[in-house]
């Protein structure tokens, strides 16, 4: 709750009245001809299902935000569901539009030709970020209930970690990590389309996994342990409690047993809302289990497995045993492994 205390206060009726007054004042369009150079932009939205004014909730860019990311099929949905079970946290479904607009933004600022044109139009990186931040905050705040800690789980948003931190300075990130062989098996056996991923061959898919996780890992490590926390899917399902304690400590939210019994919070008010259209929904409907750990055994060609040291070096770097097949994931729980991996 530390992140929250810095920025948020519970309000009494007087505060609500004052805020409503402020809100009405803000609705007046004010301009001052002497002024030159600045503006305050804001907007209001309400969900469709009606509410009284005292239900208004205010957010701004200093809001603490949690971003859960990783290569798709790495337990990001499980992690967000477990956190959603906590009454003080709301993640919600994948928004899909947030990584899309982040991608558009990255493409724009990476093009020096485009940026030179925008600069001529008095649109600099900072203004683009302001616009992007309003868009993203509107979506995050609007697609679910308010909560002390809002969270976003669009797996690839984490690739824009540095932009996100410039927009929302109180952001923290959880990076989910899972054995690339499991990820590849999950993608290929379930025919999950992922932009930039070979979904036909395990070798191609593992190379794409290696590239994607490598970039994320570098970004996560360089942000530092206060900002980005790596979480192994295998450790989470083998021994959920210490992992969830570690996560809650990282985000400064007090322990609540509900996070390790997330299946009981599905569809409950203040609990977990799941999308029928996300492929992981039928898996996170159940209690935490270890079924998915071993599904890839015997499903990946030996010729692919023999090339992993060269083609997917991130496996070894992240502590996965590529010599032994199947590997013993319990080794990842070893305190010595934790130290080696610097977790």
């Amino acid at each position: 709750m530390n992140m929250l205390r810095k920025l948020g206060v519970r309000v009494d009726k007087l505060h609500v009245v004052l805020c409503l007054a402020c809100f009405l004042l803000c609705l007046i369009l004010v301009y001052d001809e002497r002024s030159g150079k600045s503006a305050l932009e804001f907007n209001v939205y309400e969900n469709g299902n009606g509410h009284s004014n005292k239900d208004l909730v205010f957010y701004n860019r200093t809001v603490p935000l949690l971003w859960i990311g990783g290569v798709p099929r790495s337990g990001t949905t499980l992690a967000r569901a477990m956190l959603d079970a906590h009454p003080d946290i709301r993640c919600g479904e994948e928004t899909r539009v947030i990584p899309r607009i982040l991608g558009m933004h990255t493409k724009t600022i990476m093009s020096s030709l485009e940026m030179s044109r925008l600069t001529e139009a008095h649109i600099d990186e900072r203004l683009l970020r302001e616009a992007l931040a309003s868009y993203i905050l509107t979506i995050i705040a609007g697609h679910g209930d308010p909560a002390p800690l809002l969270c976003n789980k669009d797996p690839f948003a984490i690739r824009s970690m540095s932009h996100i931190r410039k927009m929302f300075p109180n952001s923290k990130f959880i990076m989910m990590i899972r054995d690339g062989r499991s990820v590849s098996h999950s993608i290929i056996s379930r025919h999950i389309t992922i932009k930039g991923f070979d979904i036909k061959s395990h070798l191609g898919c593992l190379k794409d996994w290696n590239r994607a996780i490598g970039t994320m890992w570098e970004a996560c490590k360089s942000s530092g342990p206060e900002i980005c926390l790596p979480v192994y899917y295998e450790r989470l399902v083998l021994d959920p409690k210490p992992q969830m304690e570690r996560i809650l400590k990282f985000i400064g939210i007090k322990w609540d047993d509900r996070v390790i019994h997330h299946e009981q919070a599905i569809g409950v008010k203040g609990g977990i809302s799941l999308s029928k259209k996300e492929p992981s929904t039928n898996q996170v409907n159940k209690a935490v289990n270890q079924e998915a750990l071993s599904k890839w055994y015997g499903e990946i060609p030996a010729s692919t497995l023999n090339q992993l040291k060269k083609e997917a070096p991130m496996l070894k770097r992240l502590g996965y045993d590529t010599d032994q097949s199947p590997p013993d994931y319990n080794k990842l729980l070893n305190p010595l492994a934790e130290k080696t991996l610097n977790l």
Copy 2:
């Protein structure tokens, strides 16, 4: 000024103090656990060059906005420059990012598969519009000085007229119209790349012009004369004053002689800011003139000109003489023509 009076008030010092108080109050993150369903999102930005708090300017979605559109190379830059010369109006350079994000939005809401996924994530058209509106307003307000009437000139934004009106209910539109033969000649001779336009052959280019202007014209007509005003480039350069009077009456801004001497307002504070990277800049640098009317004469193959009734029927529909080459554009000034064209 009618549009403005409805929504804007000049403020005295007390108002400024109250608004600052409101602003500071808003900066507190407030949440109410009893609440469920709504949120107010706002953000603040300041230009880089410093300012005091009393220079804060507030806008919201009821701000009156003017949108200047049309097929590129139809005098949209001239029209916005003439309006920018008015002290109460600020258009500014093409933002480029606004039509891009509008296009992304249109693509999203036109896909029923995508919308079904978003609906499962509690992201409906209304929330998407809220997010988009925050983005657009941040860009429009932020890329130039504040003014009683803000205006956007990204030629193709007008294609999203119906979405824009849902986002910003006090929007008005000016649709620039120019002889497709001039447009085609301008595009091809200047090698202007326009998405979806054939820039190699006049016949292809005129077909693309016909399609684009046809859609815009239908949208403009169906919005009604209070919302969308068609303005002929030829009429504007042949007889600027009555056209500018007509435009200012439409947007409810009082006459100012500076609009017909825009060349004197270039680079002047509160006047016209031009981009070195826009192809029209070297043309609107000069006083209004008729040079560009006849440049296409003799430059378009006879075989193309002979097919215009069939391939570019919008020419005739908009009152352009395709039988006579070169046509007499003065006919467009005839009061009878005005009546026929329903201008």
